[in-house]
Every structure is written in structure tokens, then in C-alpha cells.
């Protein structure tokens, strides 16, 4: 019971108006509160269950396979010599579960996508918040949001049927479907994320700062680059971190456009296989309870942990910024 309620009910006992609040009303109030509490607890249970089930199944992988085997496998060749390999080959008779090629593939699509999206997303945020005519803004901002509403399977499809051929003719990559094509597709998802959060961060900078800067004789660009962007730096970097998290977790685009070959490479024009695409492609065929099955859950834990930490960092930065910006 909140303070207000306590005060309310204690007063209602001895005042002549209070007598109208009958026992029925009080029971009704507590029943309603109970109803909402049940819903809250159920939602909470689901959230806890996500943690439990993911980690329960994933940790079985550690029992069956072992943490070191997720990094490298020792292979004994035909001549008896032992060799350390970094391969993802779970269906082989000698299964190999190294996550290194998958992590490299994920980074090779997510990092270029984040770089491209930072350029376009931050520019779009600056344009919407500082440069655009307010009348235009009311029309342009929803358009960026519509961009964010395009289902990712559509972007994957477009990259597969149009983007891949376009970049194939333009750049002659080693593989037609490669990390570069996938990262272009990913940027379409991340640009709206970075753009709208950057716009929020810039918009929350008090107008006094702009006026003070203009008053000192600064030009518009000087105000943007030397006053507004530094003041909103934490918000903008939070948006980039969140965008990176989305890039790591995106599935359909990389599944359709990255080529899905688990190469160990830093060449962006080769096919790669990401962690998300591995789960998506292999979970349907795997037999439940096998080592392969648990290893896919382990990849899920890795993904969950990385994105959860990235989101947490971004949230801490944003909270700090909010506290600082209450002038």
C-alpha cells in the first residue's frame, strides 16, 4: 500500500465522508491490485524462464563437449601426427565444435555494418535534429521509422536477388554471397536504430547551449560539431553500441546473404557463417539431446550474453546522460 493510500484509508475511518468507502470498495481495490500483481509475476516468471532454459540446455554442452573444444580441436591425422584445428563441423564423424570461425564471421559482418551505419545514422540524426526544417522533419522522421519496420526477411531477400548481383558486377568478390553483401543488408536494419537514438540524444540538448554558441558568433556547423555533438557524445555512442548489438543478433539477412561457409578469414569478400545463421540453419535438422543440439544452445548463450552486456552498457550510458542533462 502506498503512502497516499495509507493516509487515504486512515482518514476515511474517522471522517464522515470516509464512511461512504465501504468494505466492498476496499475489497474491490485489493482484488484489482492482486489481479495486476498476478500479471506482473507471470511476466516476471517468463523472463526468468528464458534465462533458466537457455542456460540449462547450454551448460549441458559444457558437460558433453567441454569449453576448450569450443575453441579448438586436436585432430589426429592418418600419419598419427596431432594437429590443432579451428573448425565448425558438428555433423562429421569426428565432430569439431570450434566457435572461432562463427565468431569471426559474426564480427566480419557486424563491424562493417556498424561502421557504415554510424556514418549514415549519425548524419541522419544530425540532419533531423539540427538541420531539417521542422515542417519537413514531421514528415521525414516517420519515414526513417518506416525504414525500421521493414521485416528483415525482406532485406535478406533483396540482398540475395538484387544486392548480390549488383556487387558481384561492381566489385568482383571472391564469393558471390559474402560478408560484405550481408553487412550492407545489415546496415539497413541498424541505420534507423542509430538515427532515431542519435536524434533523441541531440534533441535532448537544451536550446540554451545552441543560443549561447550562436551568441558567441559560431556558425551552424561550429555549433553542431563543437557544442552539440560533444554534449550528446554519450547518447550517440550508446546508439552505436545498441546498433552493434542488433548487428550481432540479426539472423535472416546473414542467413540469406552471407554465403554460410564457415571460413576462417578476415577477407570481407569471402563467404562467412555467423553464430545466428548457424542456429537458424542447423536447429531444424538436429536430433534433440545430441551434442550438436546442446552446442547450438551454447551458441545461444554466447549471443545472449554478448547482446545483454552491450544493451546494459548502452542503458547505463543513457541513464548517466539523463542525469547529467537535467539542467
Amino acid at each position: 500500500m502506498s503512502e497516499q493510500e495509507k493516509e487515504f484509508y486512515s482518514r476515511s475511518k474517522d471522517s464522515k465522508y470516509g464512511k461512504r468507502i465501504k468494505k466492498f470498495t476496499r475489497t474491490k481495490e485489493s482484488l484489482i491490485k492482486f489481479f495486476f500483481a498476478v500479471n506482473g509475476v507471470m511476466a516476471l516468471i517468463f523472463i526468468i524462464l528464458i534465462f533458466i532454459f537457455l542456460f540449462k540446455e547450454g551448460f549441458k554442452a559444457l558437460e558433453h563437449i567441454g569449453l576448450l573444444d569450443f575453441i579448438s580441436t586436436n585432430r589426429i591425422g592418418t600419419d598419427g601426427s596431432s594437429q590443432t584445428v579451428y573448425e565448425w563441423y558438428p555433423t562429421s564423424t569426428e565432430p569439431r565444435y570450434s566457435l572461432i570461425p562463427l565468431i569471426l564471421g559474426t564480427l566480419l559482418t557486424a563491424i562493417p555494418a556498424t561502421l557504415i551505419s554510424t556514418l549514415f545514422g549519425v548524419a541522419a540524426g544530425i540532419y533531423l535534429s539540427e538541420i531539417a526544417n521542422p515542417k519537413w522533419k514531421e514528415f521525414l522522421k516517420p519515414m526513417i521509422e518506416l525504414f525500421a519496420g521493414i521485416p528483415t526477411v525482406v532485406l535478406g531477400f533483396i540482398m540475395l536477388v538484387i544486392g548480390a548481383s549488383f556487387f558481384n558486377d561492381l566489385l568482383h568478390p571472391d564469393n558471390r554471397l559474402n560478408a560484405f553483401v550481408a553487412s550492407i543488408g545489415l546496415s539497413f536494419v541498424i541505420i534507423p536504430v542509430i538515427a532515431s537514438l542519435t536524434e533523441d540524444a541531440l534533441h535532448s540538448i537544451p536550446n540554451d547551449l545552441r543560443m549561447a554558441s550562436y551568441g558567441l558568433g559560431a556558425t551552424k556547423w561550429q555549433t553542431i560539431s563543437k557544442v552539440i555533438l560533444p554534449a550528446a557524445f554519450s547518447g550517440v555512442s550508446a546508439s552505436i553500441i545498441l546498433g552493434f548489438g542488433r548487428a550481432i543478433g540479426e539472423t535472416m539477412i546473414v542467413l540469406m546473404a552471407s554465403g554460410n561457409a564457415a571460413n576462417i578469414t578476415t577477407n570481407i569478400f569471402l563467404s562467412v557463417r555467423t553464430m545466428t545463421a548457424t542456429i537458424a540453419a542447423e536447429m531444424g535438422e538436429v536430433s534433440q539431446g545430441s551434442d550438436h543440439y546442446y552446442s547450438l544452445f551454447f551458441i545461444g548463450i554466447v549471443l545472449f550474453t554478448i547482446t545483454f552486456i552491450l544493451n546494459l552498457i548502452a542503458e547505463l550510458i543513457i541513464n548517466k546522460m539523463r542525469k547529467k542533462n537535467t539542467f
Binding site: 465522508y17 468507502i21 470498495t25 481495490e29 491490485k33 495486476f36 500483481a37 500479471n39 506482473g40 507471470m42 511476466a43 517468463f46 523472463i47 524462464l49 528464458i50 532454459f53 537457455l54 540446455e57 556514418l119 549514415f120 548524419a123 541522419a124 521525414l140 516517420p142 526513417i144 521509422e145 518506416l146 525504414f147 519496420g149 521485416p151 528483415t152 525482406v154 531477400f157 533483396i158 540475395l160 538484387i162 551552424k220 556547423w221 561550429q222 553542431i224 560539431s225 548489438g245 543478433g249 540479426e250 539472423t251 535472416m252 542467413l255 540469406m256 545466428t276 537458424a280 536447429m283 531444424g284 547450438l296 544452445f297 545472449f304 547482446t307 545483454f308 544493451n311 546494459l312 542503458e315
Partner: protein, 316 residues
């Protein structure tokens, strides 16, 4: 000298601003090119038969009705499961729960769950709904293998868990935007807590809640990754419908224990795994156009709602 320097700075400034403009409008141009391509390629396929017919001839001809039906069925069940639970628990968190470290931890984890990859929710759906709940039900009810396999209800439930954090976060935000003074005024007039929520808080927060909910629904309807292994089927001869009979009176109902076709999955499967992807290209573009129109309608509705909501808040 001073004038010269100022001129030079101005040149850099104006060109930087122009660069930002060019970057922004190339983005808008890319969006229009993308949509233009889908519309121009897809519009030729769209017809009454395409929307309302079954796929024919190994899916190289015919329509996509089962996929549209499946998408709507899954989305409807997802709404039923996620929206009331999400909105009610947000009301509890914002109006009833005390501001303690515990409730802050809950808020933070809900916030962060909204950013967890959708494929991870798919894993959760498989591990929890199908293998734990489904197989558990089969063991208890002695139904063999009826519930413990991929099915419409498990896909909907998983999508519901996926959009639940989004619904909660947006509802919390709109409840938060109702000024405390309005609540105090209501208490001052002798209203109880529930009367205040029902008559003061919810009417003001309603457009915001609706916006967030619609955006969450569109996110769920366009999501593909989590349902890949939760019951979406390549091709099914029948709709996931069975007659529900009470006595002699039968009505056709969505059968949640069956597998289903799904628009987003249909595009994925035709583009990557069908025997002849080039031949089915018109169908792929057509399905993409239908999916885009569906999600855009939802998104535009949400944007209009929010526009009105913000305008109304601005007047306060």
C-alpha cells in the same frame, strides 16, 4: 586576415552541412529505390487469385492464401497472449509496485530483453514450450506425440514472449508520461487508486499504449528467425483449421496444434530452398509486397496514433 579565416571556416561549415544533407537524402533515396523495386516487380503478380488461392504445381504457381492465413492466425494468438499480459504487468510495475532495487532490476532486464536476438527466443521456444511444456503435456495426458512437436500455438507463444518486453517497455513509457499532478488531483477528489488509474491515467496513456502495441505486433508479424524451427511449414495442403464441435453444432476454428504456413517464412524458403528459385521469382516479389504492405499498414497506424498522442500531450 580575420575575414579570410571566417570565410574559409564558413566554406568548411557549409560543405559539412551539405555532406550531412547528401548522406540523409541518399538514405531516403535508397529506401525509395528498395520499395520501388519491390512494388514494381511485385504488383504484376498481385491479383485476387494470388491472394486467395492455394499454391499449385509444387509452389511454382498459384496463390499464397495459406501463408497469409497462417500469418494472421499466428499474429492473432500472439496478440491474445502478449498484449493483456504485457499491459497489465506494466500497470502493476508503474502504478502499484514500489520503487525498490528489485523493481529496478526487473525494469532493466525487461529493457535489455527487448534487445536480445530473436533467434535466441526461438531456442527458448524450442526448449521451453515444445520440449518442456509440450512433451510434459503429452506425458500427463498420454496423447503420444501431439503437443511435443512444432505447432502454431508454440510459434505464437514464442513470438508473444519475444514481443512481451516491447509491449511492457512502451506501456511503461506512456504511463510514465502522465503527470503526477493529475494523479494527485484525482486522489484529492476522493478517488480510489483503481478509479484514478481507470479514469485519469489510462485515458491519457491509451494512445501511447496502442502505438507501442501496434509496433510490437508488426515486429512479431515480420519476424522469421524464431519460427524457423517452431512449426512453420514449407507447404501444407490444408489450412490449420479444424471443426470445433459442441454437441451437433460445429464451427471451424484455428487448430493451434497443427503446423502452418507463414508469409515471411514463405519468402525465405522460396528464395533459398525451393527447387527453382528463378521460376518462382514473381511469387517471391508478390509475397514480399504483401508482407511489406501488411507491416507498413500497422506501422503507419502506429505513427499516426503517436503523432496524435504527442500533440495531445503538448497541449497539457
Amino acid at each position: 586576415m580575420l575575414a579570410l579565416r571566417k570565410k574559409k571556416r564558413d566554406f568548411i561549415g557549409t560543405s559539412a552541412i551539405w555532406l550531412v544533407r547528401i548522406l540523409f537524402f541518399s538514405l531516403v533515396l535508397a529506401l525509395f529505390l528498395l520499395l520501388g523495386k519491390i512494388v514494381s516487380q511485385g504488383i504484376g503478380t498481385i491479383s485476387f487469385e494470388f491472394i486467395f488461392d492455394d499454391p499449385k504445381n509444387n509452389m511454382t504457381e498459384g496463390g499464397i492464401f495459406p501463408a497469409i492465413f497462417g500469418t494472421i492466425a499466428v499474429t492473432l494468438i500472439m496478440i491474445l497472449l502478449a498484449v493483456p499480459l504485457g499491459v497489465f504487468s506494466a500497470i502493476y510495475l508503474n502504478e502499484y509496485a514500489k520503487d525498490s532495487i528489485f523493481s529496478r532490476i526487473i525494469r532493466t532486464s525487461i529493457n535489455n530483453l527487448a534487445g536480445v536476438p530473436s533467434i535466441v527466443f526461438g531456442l527458448f521456444g524450442l526448449g521451453f514450450f515444445i520440449l518442456f511444456i509440450g512433451r510434459g503435456m503429452d506425458d500427463v495426458l498420454k496423447t503420444g506425440l501431439l503437443f511435443g512437436q512444432p505447432a502454431l500455438i508454440w510459434a505464437s507463444a514464442t513470438l508473444a514472449v519475444l514481443v512481451l518486453p516491447i509491449v511492457i517497455v512502451s506501456t511503461l513509457e506512456s504511463l510514465n508520461s502522465v503527470p503526477k499532478s493529475h494523479r494527485d488531483a484525482s486522489y484529492g477528489l476522493g478517488a480510489t487508486k483503481w478509479q484514478t488509474i481507470k479514469n485519469v491515467v489510462l485515458p491519457q496513456a491509451r494512445p501511447g499504449i496502442l502505438t507501442g502495441t501496434i509496433l510490437a505486433i508488426s515486429r512479431g508479424a515480420g519476424e522469421t528467425a524464431p519460427i524457423l524451427f517452431l512449426g512453420a511449414a514449407f507447404f501444407l495442403p490444408n489450412l490449420p483449421v479444424s471443426d470445433l464441435c459442441i454437441g451437433d453444432y460445429c464451427i471451424p476454428m484455428i487448430n493451434p496444434a497443427k503446423q502452418f504456413m507463414y508469409l515471411a517464412y514463405h519468402i525465405f524458403i522460396l528464395a533459398t530452398q525451393s527447387s527453382n528459385p528463378t521460376k518462382t521469382l514473381p511469387i517471391q516479389y508478390g509475397s514480399t509486397l504483401v508482407l511489406i504492405v501488411l507491416t507498413f499498414l500497422l506501422n503507419i497506424t502506429a505513427i499516426i496514433f503517436r503523432y496524435r498522442f504527442r500533440k495531445a500531450l503538448g497541449r497539457l
